[in-house]
């Protein structure tokens, strides 16, 4: 059976101090104070499931050279598009071959584990990628707001250079409605936590885990890493105890660092387990939601030499504290903010024009002139080198993996931006090529001409009138 060959994580840099949430809301729910320890990951205004998936996918892929993917599955319950395959956008932003099989998988908190099982059980040659990504939606002042977080994680599934071999899979499907979100709803509606624990987790999880361990001829104490995603802090310990799994095997749900990241949570915690696993360790991955998935993995010798480009601990460390709860509300459309008349400008995307420029807009692909070697972006008909100007002479040249230097910049306080000031400027790329582009994640005082940047796929603009959003690449200052 195949297994995991690589992993990568992405957690938004923004970390909202939970005390800020509690201070704003404890006037009507004093119990929130008891949940206010630590911080949670929050998407910047220009991040969503797709952009986080691109980050996680890239963080996974760059640790694995020359990999050819036959499939890319994207799991989430908060896809920005209900009918436009989100995984294809991710695939194109990663500049993957278009012969790839793509699929969006959602509608359950175990979408991530179910997608993983599907890939593990497929017998395709080569590698497949699963990305699980979630931009959580919760009501202002809810307990969910305190306990959830936004994140994405990606794994590669294959049969070569496996770092964790799959040695068993079990699933039980039960329409246990602990929560749900109807087609017109923005938020979940849920039931009492104690009932969910006793009638849900405590019944479904042991059913599949016992069966799985028996089939693998393993005992519960043989499990070194037990992933059980839940936003109920005491759940994992109680379930582990019931199963006979050692308490220290429970992989922490990171409620006080990241928050529980929905469909991304099991994959993120799997990546975390792999980061800490020793050869021979057994990892029991579960996903709960209308039943339960369970996957048993055994770390190989390769796990100790594999180095993720960005694993979970590195993703957690890449952070920027946010103490402004109103900003979080604004980024998540939980308040109606005055955006000014400049914000009213129509944002329609002309889809035929967009389609013509898709290599630039999604792949950040420019050109390299065959005649003179000049690299350039955007790629136009004539080469930009004044001494060349050759016609149709450019091969595709991706800038998405290039680093660059800030040539010019400003912090624009006049133009509309969801998080003013708007930082943008001219980026000169290492190896040639330049473009005027937006910057994101800029902290005041950290940018100047000469600053080093990498580029990242982000939301450029929302068109609320038509429910569309545009993406493009933005520069981020390297710390």
């Amino acid at each position: 059976m195949s297994g995991i060959t690589a992993y990568g994580a992405y957690i938004p840099r923004g970390r909202l101090n939970k005390q800020a949430i509690a201070e704003a809301n404890s006037w009507f729910d004093a119990s929130l104070k008891s949940l206010s320890k630590g911080e949670r990951a929050i998407c910047n205004w220009d991040e969503d499931v797709i952009t986080m998936a691109v980050e996680a996918g890239n963080n996974c892929l760059v640790s694995k050279s020359d990999v050819s993917l036959h499939s890319l599955y994207l799991a989430s319950t908060t896809f920005p598009f209900l009918d436009r395959q989100n995984s294809v956008v991710v695939s194109e932003a990663l500049n993957l071959d278009n012969q790839i099989r793509t699929m969006d998988i959602g509608a359950s908190q175990r979408a991530g584990t179910s997608a993983l099982i599907s890939l593990l059980e497929s017998d395709c040659e080569g590698s497949a990628m699963l990305v699980a990504s979630e931009h959580r939606r919760s009501k202002a002042g809810s307990r969910a707001e305190m306990q959830w977080g936004d994140a994405a994680a990606a794994v590669l599934v294959g049969s070569e250079n496996v770092i964790a071999e799959c040695i068993g899979i079990e699933t039980i499907a039960v329409d246990f409605v602990d929560h749900y979100r109807g087609e017109d709803a923005s938020f979940d509606y849920d039931w009492e936590e104690r009932w969910i624990r006793d009638e849900g987790f405590m019944k479904s999880v042991p059913t599949v885990v016992d069966k799985l361990l028996e089939a693998a001829s393993l005992n519960a104490e043989d499990i070194q890493h037990f992933v059980i995603p839940t936003d109920q802090a005491r759940n994992p310990g109680a379930i582990a105890k019931k199963l006979g799994i050692k308490a220290e095997a429970v992989v922490d749900n990171q409620i006080a660092q990241v928050g529980v990241a929905g469909v991304a949570q099991p994959i993120l915690l799997l990546a975390k387990a792999l980061e800490n696993a020793a050869p021979g360790d057994h990892i029991l991955l579960t996903g709960f939601g209308q039943g339960c998935d369970a996957v048993l993995l055994k770390a190989t010798d390769a796990v100790s030499t594999y180095k993720p480009a960005v694993g979970v601990s590195a993703a957690i460390d890449s952070r920027r504290e946010e103490t402004n709860y109103n900003k979080f509300l604004s980024f998540n459309n939980l308040v109606e903010r005055d955006i000014g008349k400049r914000g009213e400008a129509d944002k329609q995307t002309y889809l035929s024009g967009y389609n013509r420029r898709k290599d630039l807009l999604t792949g950040f692909v420019g050109g390299k002139c065959r005649e003179c070697g000049t690299v350039q972006i955007p790629r136009e008909k004539y080469c930009v080198n004044p001494d060349c100007n050759a016609l149709d002479s450019q091969d595709a040249y991706a800038f998405s993996d290039k680093q660059g230097t800030v040539a010019t910049w400003t912090a624009d306080r006049l133009t509309f931006d969801w998080s003013p000031p708007a930082y943008f400027g001219m980026v000169q790329f290492d190896g040639g090529g330049k473009i005027m582009m937006d910057f994101t994640e800029v902290e005041e005082g950290t940018i100047d001409s000469g600053s080093k940047v990498s580029v990242h796929f982000r939301i450029r603009q929302f068109d609320p009138a038509r429910g569309f959003r545009k993406y493009f690449w933005k520069a981020v200052i390297e710390q």
């Binding site: 000031p421 000169q428 005027m436």
Partner: protein
């Protein structure tokens, strides 16, 4: 080889509306105000105008995209009228059309008029507008100050300048123009400011502060041009002729080729050199006696002085602080107050610059009249530092 435009066309008359927040005035009102002064100055009848060029920059907030608003506003007699638009260099484009028409012999007398109504947007600053369907998909949402702040950062990096020193020189640019504006009844802003006020004003787009920005106003300006022979036959004396009229348009090199570092305006260097060659000017610092440049932002003016060869490259800060471009300096700049005090009604600005040079060369600039100006240069810039349109025109006494 082309012989150039020098001394082939003279200005028969010019007019300029009061610039400002003209809440009660429509574009037509502004056009008529400028035209009435112009045709009175020219001393001709409307029926003698054979062709017209109409400059208006922002269709959505102005008059729409055809030439008809000019023909209708002025009740022109079914003559050919052409609408031109080249971003903030639009005013000079209208002038170029009229001058070239006369120079070609296609008509004897032509009109150029520019107008812009910017104060109908409901907010401050230039209107938010499209940069074209494709550009809008990936260009930053840059405001005009955001665009030209790039020039400040590029210039500062290239010449390794301290931000405070650059801000001080930028402030001097604005202080000088505000002082000049107090002497001009047609200027929108007519009050002095101090360097400290300018340096300490809030940022609009770092390092551009409030006083580094030109105003935003409504206004119109126009010119009637003809041949020297016709002007003389109409009894005109002391003719002011066009010595040079050049335009350089970015071809994407600055924005996409590594050869440009963001510290200067390539088009200004190219267009001004061509203009000097056309006018037969060898030493700009000696022969150009006044300039009206596109001071949309103080940094633009400072860098433009270098690009026009009126300051040494990298020494613009010193040249500005030494007062070279003050009203009593070696080469006074924006003696009318510039865009800084007139504001920048897009379609009108280029013609407003030419109007000031025309008045000065005629000795008709009243309280702000310079002593014996000989050759005036207008620099009208549209777009952004990395992609722009630069017009240079030079006026002087017809020989």
């Amino acid at each position: 080889m082309a012989s150039g435009i020098k001394d082939k066309v003279v200005i028969l008359g010019m007019g300029c509306s009061k610039f400002g927040e003209r809440w009660d005035s429509s574009p037509s009102d502004l056009m008529v105000e400028a035209f009435e002064e112009c045709i009175g100055d020219a001393g001709i009848e409307r029926e003698q105008i054979e062709a017209a060029w109409f400059g208006a920059g922002i269709d959505a907030f102005n008059v729409g995209s055809s030439a008809m608003p000019l023909a209708i506003a002025l009740r022109l007699n079914y003559i050919p009228v052409t609408k031109v638009e080249n971003m903030c260099a639009t005013g000079t484009e209208a002038f170029r059309g009229a001058v070239y028409a006369v120079a070609s012999g296609a008509c004897d007398i032509a009109l150029a008029l520019g107008v812009e109504k910017l104060k109908d947007t409901g907010y401050g600053g230039l209107p938010q507008r499209t940069r074209g369907l494709e550009n809008d998909m990936y260009w930053p949402n840059l405001s005009a100050p955001g665009a030209f702040a790039q020039l400040a950062s590029g210039y500062r990096a290239k010449h390794k300048l301290n931000q405070d020193d650059l801000k001080r020189a930028m402030a001097h640019v604005s202080v000088k123009s505000h002082a000049n504006g107090t002497k001009n009844p047609k200027a929108h802003l007519q009050r002095e400011i101090t360097e400290d006020q300018a340096v300490n004003a809030p940022y609009i787009a770092e390092p551009i502060g409030l006083y580094d920005c030109c105003g935003v106003s409504d206004g119109s300006a126009c010119a009637i041009v003809t041949t020297p022979e016709i002007a003389k036959s109409l009894g005109k004396e002391n003719l002011i002729s066009v010595k040079a009229l050049q335009l350089a348009v970015s071809n994407g090199t600055e924005s996409s080729h590594d050869s440009w570092d963001g510290s200067y305006l390539k088009t200004t260097r190219i267009a001004s050199q061509r203009a000097y060659d056309e006018a037969g000017i060898r030493k700009p610092t000696e022969e150009i006696t006044m300039t009206e440049v596109h001071d949309c932002f103080s940094i633009t003016e400072l860098v433009t002085m270098e690009d026009l060869q009126l300051a040494e490259e990298g020494k613009g800060v010193n040249a500005v602080l030494d007062g070279n471009f003050d009203s009593d300096g070696k080469t006074p700049c924006q003696i009318d107050g510039g865009l800084k005090c007139f504001g920048h009604p897009i379609g009108a600005s280029g013609l407003r610059m030419i109007y000031e040079n025309y008045l000065q060369l005629n000795g008709r600039a009243e309280a702000r009249q310079l002593d014996n100006p000989k050759m005036g240069l207008n620099h009208n810039l549209g777009g952004f530092p990395h992609q722009n349109i630069c017009s240079i025109s030079i006026l002087g006494p017809y020989n």
